[in-house]
Point group: C2
Chain length 298, copies 2
């Protein structure tokens, strides 16, 4: 696939993955996990979230995580921030990038962050402005971009509408989420066909969950058919969503990397080391990680 | 996907799936499994194999299986046969169809059935002839059609060569196997591009294993890009291959059916009932089935 772009993985295991684990993962295990991910060649790692510890207890030690990790040169360590207070915390620990979080479905956004889409965008406006003034890059999650567990199929136009408002606010990169893993390649193509009329493919990262086993097919389609090169994934396939009934984990970074590599893509990561990073967490999880490659010797 | 053909699933769980299970599955459990698969809407079920019980102990009771299952009208119950003796056994229990088994890789065929490809074809010649004289349909497996665990990448031309020889012998349908689950959609398209110059898409069934998580992507690509409608799969994702190191199970019937259905395909099966059929085996397996849909409520 000579004409297809090299892959850019955004490792969301330490945040999107771990926030849905029932057991509290010790600080040192999180730090070791992130350090191992850096060593595996991943160039962007979402290392934590500066949210309320009442809302997401697993992320309560994100400051400590940022302070204790070994930062590898050339790797971006980002943090999810919901508001200005979160941004202050991210700035205090010198996060390289922040991510804000909204949805293409009103009902999902209400259940997930107890705000309408418009309210969440209003809340992000000063956050994005101040982050950029401080020299931080800003990514925006648009979740439930294909299906909503409450509203069903989401029209691509709703995604475009939210993305355009985020562009106006100054967000520079958009993570388009199939939060419940219900999209098929046909849905991915339908959305990208019109989304990429508005923004360049290099500003897009697709964020697939592997609930029904379609994440790899969706990712390959986005890359092969639309030259999207950015993909969010989670080592071991950790994750899920407490507000999305039945949601499975993020697609496993090692499974995606294997599929892209088998398809001729330049992945720039060491699959064995990604598996080893996920294995570090294993004793703390209380369940096996769901990745395909995790089950076999590679 | 208005122009795409309705799907035809060949359920291989009772044979390809079970033959690789370590624990002996009781006869009654096999019969209940097959009956439940019939009730789930599957129109073709490979119910057993008439091979040497020394070679595959799990298939030693295939005669009993054929005698005890409730045959549903319109459902084809097929059997794998390696030789004339196997054919006699299949005829004695009134199997509707037989399947013969060779490979596109010399080394794999040697390890799997201790014969060169040419020797296996010689052995099949009278089997296919007599089966057709007796009014049975004949399917031919061509395994290791993309990658061989011993030889690596297999050139599409090797597959074409074997298929053409099987056509000359009278085989009517070809199951093209990615035995170790190593193919990506790019490989599937490369093979189908030249295979479908020789035979019609409706004579082809793709047989994917989900070792690395690419089976769903491969199946969707074969269907969407080349209008192949036949797919082998195994309820629960049972399977593997004792002669193929690291091989994972057959792609799960319920995962494939979900993905095709989500893509607008007519699947004609009840996904809940397929899951329920696989669940009947659960107490006898000693391990969870690996299907994606098996892990969640659908």
């Amino acid at each position: 696939m000579a004409n297809l772009p090299a892959l850019r993985f955004v490792e969301v295991g330490p945040r999107d993955g771990l926030q849905n684990e029932h057991k509290t993962i010790p600080l040192n295990a999180k730090v070791a996990f992130i350090n191992a991910l850096s060593e595996a060649g991943l160039k962007e790692i979402e290392a934590g979230a500066f949210v309320s510890p009442q809302a997401v207890a697993q992320m309560a030690d994100s400051e400590q995580v940022f302070k204790k990790i070994q930062r590898k040169r050339g790797v971006i360590y980002s943090a999810l921030v919901p508001n200005e207070q979160g941004l202050e915390r991210a700035l205090a620990v010198k996060a390289d990038k922040i991510a804000v979080f909204t949805a293409a479905s009103e009902t999902f956004n209400q259940r997930n962050i107890r705000a309408s889409i418009a309210e969440s965008l209003d809340r992000f406006a000063p956050v994005i402005l101040k982050a950029k003034q401080a020299g931080l890059a800003v990514r925006a999650y648009v979740s439930a971009a294909f299906y909503c567990p409450f509203e069903g199929k989401i029209a691509p136009e709703k995604v475009i509408d939210v993305v355009e408002k985020l562009i106006d606010l100054g967000a520079e990169e958009f993570s388009i989420g199939d939060t419940i893993g219900r999209a098929a390649p046909v849905d991915v193509r339908a959305l990208l066909e019109i989304l990429l009329e508005r923004i360049n493919a290099d500003k897009v990262a697709m964020h697939f969950h592997d609930t029904y086993g379609m994440a790899v097919a969706n990712a390959l389609s986005a890359w092969e058919d639309y030259k999207v090169s950015g993909f969010d994934s989670s080592a071991g396939g950790l994750g899920g969503c407490p507000y999305a009934p039945g949601a499975g984990g993020n697609v496993a970074t090692e499974d995606l990397a294997f599929a892209f590599s088998a398809s001729g893509g330049k992945v720039g990561v060491d699959i064995g080391k990604i598996k080893a990073a996920a294995a570090l967490l294993q004793p703390h999880l209380g369940h096996p990680t769901p990745s395909r490659l995790g089950r076999i010797k590679v």
